[in-house]
């Protein structure tokens, strides 16, 4: 075949490529561009071409069509049958896969879970693989003939099955009157169904695929390929403008070491980016500089550094749509609908757009948190619990009303119907409209409005795709699945950055493949690392490099040649260029620089290799993080705060440990709350026990000497209480904890019976007691809730008892005084003091009832052994200190790990309070 080949035009590489191309176009097409299609690598480049044309003198002519290269076949070919959208294709692939026998499917994947979303992801992978092969004219069905002879049987079997899937897929599509755009495209080209008079100009496409190539080869006379290289290098490009591996794979780079900086980690790459900017010495405006980010994980670090310096880093990659408010909302809705879990509800309710609609906004999440910590619910059920207190009832009402409101918002989404995706679309639209419908967006004014508008636009596209799915491709599904479906389709979409409108210095961050068609005269490329440039090939589990190369697919050497060409192009086209490589990835993995940077001849290799290993020293040395004068942690207190009229007995223990903690707890009355507990904490467990013991103390059984009778009442109390508090919807561990408590109560029953037989009678339980304490002639009320008061019918002795529920025995004496004799708690002495009127001069013991695993221990001592007078003096002393507002001493507060009180007390801060180290 006397080949007519497309025209190749070498535009040189000393100047910005798009600008050169546009001048060429204007020259070449003085009549106008009506029949011209220009193919470029990406959307950004297509806008750049349009911009330059719109600003040129040729802007009065009808403009050309500028499309991304992948769209060119669609511009030129005419389809008889509607091509299936990618979305529909995935569904059909999934369906085809599921039509395989189990044995056959097993050969492709042993994952049993292919019916739902996971299956769709797998189908997407197969579809992608199919597309990759189709791009070079291979099909699953023909691959077995093309495979190398020594291909392992395991691999042959996979391709064989895939051929079968491909056939099923085609049949399915045909049955629905759709065609597969991949193979149809090939057929159309083969049959020369090219019905257009259009001319094609291709710009900046060093690696077009076979579809495009075969299309070009059908109409070479109508195609021009613009290449950013001097004419003298024409032999180094093939007829389609691709850099030849033989040349570019070996051509040493012209990068100089002065233009290459090595950073340790991504943060330092950002630092070096700033340094590189400085090295331009004010020669460029921000808009004349671009930053390449082949490794996108570096991008946030750069943006952050820019921000510090008042520069906007405009990331051309945009932000993933999954971060937009409505997407997050729908995600939360789906999770809630599919699980009905309390945690999902708590998450949904926290979405600002939901919260705005609630009747009781000003307590919505607080109510939920409080409710959670009382009832540990797993799921949202019809029943919301309430307690006997008025505030509990009011809270219940609010929770119910809010829930009703949410149900109303969800509307039909909340129903358990199974419908086709098509039928769900209007429901989803209605939901979004309910939430967002009343808003008016000003996308040209507010960035957040623009993102929202773009997001909705993407939603609408996906909705439309869903509406065009023929029934029967996707099965009927519940609302949550439908949402998941939509979100999955959206997941890969990024909202492009807004056009900046203010004159703020803005630097663009671009991907590797966008750099060649970016005309900024100055460029800094970060992330020039092995694994980022050249980018790794995909589908490695299916297509090892040797197979890729055998099949003529994109492969390692070809990519290298292409990228080597791009780098050389950039080195020539830019006035200034700086290249940055890193030594560690964001995950801390050691990483080497890109092979492109080390692609030098033998004379330079040693210097380049050495350079690669030596990070550029940070120019401003990093701060050692010196602790300034202010590093020592000081609690700050508000001395104006008033002292409560009534102090609980527990406040004294707190004060003894830490006056500051006392301040936080009893002056500021702070509390901390979250909703992460999986089981009762120590206090919760203790309260549960207290409740049951109170129930017992008020029952007739309190006078019983029969362990069984006592046990029965305790269990009765426990069961009744737990039923009312937890229903059967509490977190799984709660049930176990109840049983653990039951175990303890069994032991308690035995000990209690024994104690009763020794003559002890319960006089009062949970007795609320108050007493005024006169200190310096001023009275201070002290209040306590005494767990239990016993009196011995035989000896007349009193006993003041406090229930304790730790895992091991607590000794009242040791709890109250330290080894060196300092008071650490005043609880029992104060109880004793408060009960003076009752007890008078009768003998009295004080102590704990340790309701602990495997035993219950009554640990008491005589009140006189407690040194009551000294205790009361100490209490007076404390009241005096409190009045003097001595609140800021940190002491040694008892802190339980990570809670906010620990933070307030500066626990673990450098310069703050240290956690004690045990001896072992």
């Amino acid at each position: 075949m006397a080949a007519v080949v497309p025209k190749r035009i070498f535009l040189g590489w000393g100047k910005p490529l798009v600008a050169e191309a546009v001048s060429w176009l204007i020259n070449e097409y003085s009549e106008g561009f009506a029949n011209l299609v220009i193919g470029v690598p990406g959307g950004r480049a297509s806008w750049h071409v349009r911009e330059l044309l719109a600003q040129s003198q040729a802007n009065t002519l009808p403009p050309p069509k500028v499309v991304t290269a992948g769209r060119i076949p669609e511009e030129i070919l005419e389809y008889d049958i509607t091509p299936a959208s990618p979305f529909l294709q995935s569904l059909v692939w999934q369906k085809a896969l599921l039509k395989l026998g189990e044995d056959e499917l097993q050969i492709l994947t042993t994952n049993k879970n292919l019916v739902d979303g996971d299956g769709l992801v797998f189908a997407d992978e197969i579809q992608g693989l199919y597309r990759e092969l189709a791009g070079e004219g291979h099909w699953f069905s023909t691959l077995s003939e093309t495979l190398p002879v020594d291909t392992p049987d395991r691999e042959k079997a996979r391709w064989h099955i895939l051929a079968k899937v491909e056939k099923i897929k085609d049949e399915l599509l045909e049955g629905m009157s759709f065609c597969d755009p991949q193979n149809t495209r090939h057929q159309l080209i083969e049959k020369h169904h090219i019905n257009s008079e259009k001319q094609i100009v291709l710009l900046g496409l060093p690696d077009m695929n076979n579809v495009l190539k075969s299309l070009i080869s059908e109409i070479p006379e109508r195609v021009t390929i613009l290449i950013g290289a001097p004419e003298t290098l024409s032999a180094t490009f093939d007829e389609y403008g691709a850099p030849r591996v033989e040349h570019w794979g070996y051509r040493p780079t012209e990068l100089t070491l002065e233009d290459w900086r090595v950073a340790e980690d991504p943060a330092q790459q950002a630092e070096l980016t700033i340094q590189s900017l400085e090295s331009f010495q004010g020669m460029y405006r921000a808009e004349q500089i671009s930053v390449g980010v082949p490794d996108h994980s570096v991008s946030p670090y750069i943006q952050r550094k820019f921000e510090e310096d008042g520069i906007v880093g405009r990331d051309a990659a945009g932000t993933p749509i999954s971060k937009s408010t409505p997407t997050v909302l729908l995600g939360a809705v789906a999770t809630f609908l599919s699980t009905k879990e309390f945690s999902a509800y708590a998450w949904l309710l926290r979405h600002p757009d939901i919260q705005e609609t609630l009747p009781f906004q000003n307590s919505a999440t607080q109510d939920l948190d409080r409710y959670f910590n009382e009832h540990f619910p797993v799921r949202i059920t019809d029943k919301w619990f309430s307690g006997s207190r008025q505030q509990d009832k009011e809270r219940k009402e609010r929770l119910e009303r809010n829930y009703e409101q949410v149900e109303e918002l969800l509307g039909e989404l909340g129903s358990v119907k199974k419908m086709t995706l098509r039928m769900w679309v209007p429901v989803l639209k209605r939901f979004l409209e309910t939430i967002y419908g009343s808003r008016t967006l000003l996308p040209h004014v507010y960035e957040s409005d623009r993102v929202l508008a773009e997001t909705f636009e993407q939603f609408l596209i996906v909705f439309e795709n869903c509406e065009h799915i023929p029934d029967g491709v996707a099965s009927r599904m519940g609302s949550a699945e439908a949402i998941d479906f939509v979100l999955r389709e959206l997941s890969s979409i990024h909202i492009p950055p807004g056009a900046h409108q203010d004159l703020v210095p803005t630097i663009e961050l671009l991907g590797w493949l966008e750099l060649a068609l970016d005309d900024a005269p100055a460029l800094i490329i970060t992330g020039m690392n092995n694994g980022s440039v050249p980018a790794p090939l995909s589908y490695t589990g299916w297509l090892p490099d040797s197979l890729r190369s055998h099949l003529g697919l994109d492969h390692r050497d070809r990519r290298f040649a292409r990228d080597a060409y791009i780098l050389e192009f950039l080195l020539h086209a830019k006035e200034r260029i700086q290249v940055i490589s890193g030594q560690r990835t964001i995950d801390g993995d050691p990483v080497l620089p890109s092979r492109l940077l080390l692609n030098v001849d033998e004379e330079r290799i040693a210097a380049y290799a050495q350079h690669a290993l030596e990070p550029t020293p940070p120019r401003h040395g990093q701060s050692e993080g010196q602790l300034g004068e202010n590093f020592l942690f000081f609690p700050s207190v508000d001395l104006e705060s008033s002292i409560p009229d009534v102090l609980p007995v527990t406040a004294f223990r707190t004060y003894l440990q830490s006056p500051y903690m006392f301040y936080l707890d009893h002056i500021q009355r702070l509390e901390t709350i979250d909703d992460t507990a999986q089981e009762l904490d120590a206090a919760g467990f203790g309260n549960l026990a207290h409740y049951v013991l109170e129930y017992f103390g008020n029952s007739k059984a309190k006078n019983s000497e029969s362990p069984k009778e006592i046990r029965d009442v305790l269990f009765q109390g426990l069961d009744w209480y737990c039923r009312n508090r937890f229903g059967n919807n509490a977190k799984p561990a709660i049930d176990i904890q109840i049983q653990q408590l039951r175990h303890r109560l069994t032991q308690f029953a035995d000990e209690q019976a024994q104690r009763r037989s020794e003559g002890w009678i319960i006089q009062d339980v949970e007795s609320n007691t108050q007493k005024d304490f006169i200190v310096d002639d001023v009275s201070q009320t002290i209040r306590g809730r005494i767990d239990r008061i016993d009196k011995n019918e035989r000896t007349g002795q009193w006993a003041i008892l406090d229930y304790k529920t730790p895992n091991t025995v607590k000794d009242p004496q040791r709890e109250h005084k330290s080894q060196s004799g300092e008071w650490t708690d005043l609880q029992l002495p104060l109880y004793w003091f408060m009960l003076q009127d009752l007890i008078g001069s009768s003998p009295c013991s004080v102590g704990y009832v340790n309701v602990i695993p495997d035993q219950t221990a009554f640990m008491t001592c005589s009140a006189h052994d407690m040194d009551m007078d000294d205790a009361i003096d100490t209490a007076s002393e404390i009241i005096r200190s409190i009045r003097n507002r001595q609140w800021s001493a940190l002491g040694k507060p008892q802190l339980f790990g990570e809670d906010i009180f620990a933070d307030l007390c500066g626990e673990g801060l450098v310069g703050g309070m240290q956690v004690e180290i045990d001896d072992d």
């Binding site: 994952n111 700033i274 331009f280 600002p352 209007p426 957040s448 993995d589 050692e624 450098v910």
Partner: protein, 1064 residues
Amino acid sequence: MTDYPHKVVLASAGTGKTYALTSQYLKLLFNGENPEEILATTFTRKAAGEIRDRIFERIVEAINNPAEREMLANEIDTPLTEEECKQKLVAFVRHLDLIQISTIDAFFMRLVKLFSHDLGLPAQWGIVSEKNEEEQILEALASMIRSEGVAKVMAILNGLQAAGKRSVYQELQNVVKAMRSIHLESTLEAWDCIEPLPSPKLEEISNAIAALDGFEVPLTQAGTPRKNWETAISNIKSCLPLAITNGNWKDFLALTPVQRSLNLNEEINYSGVEIPESFIQPVKVLGAKAAHDITVQLRKKNIEIRGFLDQLELELSELKHRQSKFAFSDLPLLLTRGIQGVGESADIAYRLDTSIRHLLLDEFQDTNPTQWRVLQPFTSQILTNREIGSYFCVGDVKQSIYGWRQGEPRLLGSMSSLFPDLQEETLSRSYRSSPVILETANRVFSNLALAIDVIAEGDKVWGQGAQEWMENYPSHQSADHLQDLPGAAYLIEARAKNAGETHWDPLLDRLIERIMLLVEDRPDLSIGVLVRSNKPIPSILNRLQAVGIHASGEGGSTIDDSQVVLHFLSLLHFADHPGDSAALYHAQTSPFWSSELLPILDSNDPETNASALRSLLLENGYGKFAASLLTTMTERPEYGDWDRRRFNQLIDIAFSYDQDPTPGRISDFIGHIRNVKVENPSVASVRVMTVHRAKGLEFDAVFMPELQKPLINSRLGILAERPDPEDLYKRVSFAPSKNLREALGGTLEELMESHTSRELQEALCVLYVAMTRAKQHLELIVTAPSKTNTAKTYANLLRHALGNRDPDENGVIWSHPTTHPQWASSFKQRESSTSENTLATGRGPSLAPTIGLRHLQRRSPSDHYSGNSIHVSDLFQSPSELAIRGQVIHRLYEEVDWLESFKWNGDYLYSLIRHFAVTEEKLQQWLYEFRESLELSSVQKLLNQKSQPESIDGKPVAWSSWRERRFCISLASDDGTEILWNGIIDRVNIATTDDGLTTIAASVIDFKTDAFSDEQLVDKVNIYRPQLTTYRQVLSRITALAENEIDAGLLFLDGNRYVPIDSA
């Protein structure tokens, strides 16, 4: 091909392990092997990077320096020229992306990725973070409780002696922590290893009880019954019923005369008399019964726990698949379990796209058998066939401190017996430490058996353990060039603790004092303070900081040790939980509250403020949000440099956290910040870390203050025995408490012995690793014993190994005889490498002032008619049929040049609109309507060529039409900014001079298909006017006509109205 010897290299600390490995690599490389066929693995990312760097460095040095080249040539037995080295480097670099030098985890990761479908993994899976792994376990436990039911879990808790304990999860997690990894590595039968001991007959038991009942208590010389004996008998009587009925023998076996009767120790007297046979006999019967009961219970418990762990594993595996998140430790398991049949090396080679012909395994002693099972096929293929390639592994049994990760040092030991072809090589010449250090180590480890004998009081198991360890200890020597390197080594005592103090108080005092002594002269020395556990690190750091010594942790630390970070986290916590008044208080009292945030925190209602914060976070992400507070934080005097650094780190973490595409709860982020460890960018000269972290590092001076720890942790969880290092655990059992254990003997005793021996070995390894990190200076700091201290601790081991003497006035118990106390100051000061420590200034880079925008603003004239604002509700109206009708009609009008020349062709016109998604009926109807509309007077007037004026301003004109005229043009807007206008004009009637060269007039026609009432017309026109005005501007540019020479109007087809936009 070249024949390479297969080698196992036993390399003591500092003897150049990495050097040996890289030498081997270079040898292969220079012999022409393909880099992609050489797999080198190690355990940490750092080490992998180091190996890679060293290979590069050595080639570069060989190029630059003839002496280095000579050395390399010797090392690899191949003469080298500079040229060859250069060529090799060029070639090597070309394969950069294919070289396989990585962590073993990364290699497994690669394999699993290639075979993920064959292994049944979900399509998109990833590695779970450490924190989330814990959450996975918690969740699996929760669903296990749900599925197993309360009773079963209670039974387990009972078995764990955890009945009645409050925290269910804590108890269960303890089991998981201690046993999960063993469970995964054990056979089913292993858990049924306890053979119940035979029980005495019932009769014998009752006889024994009767005998004790009637036992006559020995008398004192005065003839009274001995008190102790009486108590003992009464104790026996009180605990026997429970023992017999419930099998609870704990108390019985704890009684001293019982223990002595059972011969558990050699003592045969009790309370001054020899224990009579009439006592011993029945006690032995009961002892046998006890042993029987306990073994039965233990067996049951073991099986129960195994069942529990089986179930947990099921739940966990399901959860991992559901979440698509796996742990690194799962990978080798997945591979060994799921890849059977893939095991064909050809299959693996195919997907790896290379065969692995050379294996280089680093730190081999840390390999665990699961990992080994994946590597083993590669190994044996190479080792059984010389043609294939080479095998090289290097490690040091003495440095195996990863027992808790199931690291199996015996694999290294057994290499040469497994594969007789292997050449064994031992390296004991240190390139790191001075003679003082090595002689100290030699002294400790050569006296090991003696010292252990003293502290373990002759316990055989301990003795043997020590002996075994010593077998792998060759006497260490400094390399020749280090022979004259001075140094110091001390065993130092801190004062005893006072009442109310912890051990640590005096230790810290002494430690700080000793470090200061050294640092005073030589602030440039690198100093490592090495401890056993993470716990004391913050305190040590704090103390050092307090005396002005810069110190840092290693392997990073969490950033929540700074006030500003805590303030920030409280703010976030408040946003999530507005009811948390403590968080609110903390945030409110921080400088943040009054800063940039003030505008959004303008409510008195916490809930409203929190919601506003959440909204802001949702919109901006954490990184941007945190960064926006940076200015405030930098300006506030409340915060110091430390806070500034930490806050900057927080921002970095937040930005990378934001990369995760799916936002979760705020608490997840807080948890992340609390957990993520940040490397200190500048390494302080004093570093405090665990011995595990220190592995692979070296310091000029090493301090070890945490020697009071016991060598073996007395809290025993589980005993497990793996007879064959390559194979699974074959016997696993709970460890019963000490008293019980001793009564049992047999299997349990064997398990116990092997456990003790293993633990001891590891403890010695820890000591060895720590001591050998030192180059010149070593201080071992112990506390003075409060009483006589015979505990089996590191401290006591060292005292006995180094000479148990009283300390001198400086607290020195022992120092190396050639210790040169002033070595540091006399030794030449190295050049300080630390750069200037100035905080980065906020000064931005100098850029030329911005004068324009990078991109033109893009607009389309049709934007106009919504007046720039979008009503969201409009968006969700389905594209109505009306809208589609409009598109159809437009498409059809595009076909009409002039009515006169328009030929009706129904089929053709239909083919143009066929693709619109409405029924054919509709399309036909619209086609009909289109045909009707052509008759409208307004249409006739505008679209009949004849209706157009023949001349304008007296000049004859020719009319032509543009339909669907696309344009893309840049126009200056009122404020001077350029806007890229992009769009399509429905129709333009163009009048040109007769010759067609000059445009005289033009009129823009915009077809509208809206229905409207007369009242609405004015509104409609107003809405569309800006659009038409823009069209006119565009057309003016295109035609060079003045704007006022261009007509523009709306043609309302449904109302048969043409409205020029200039009309009012």
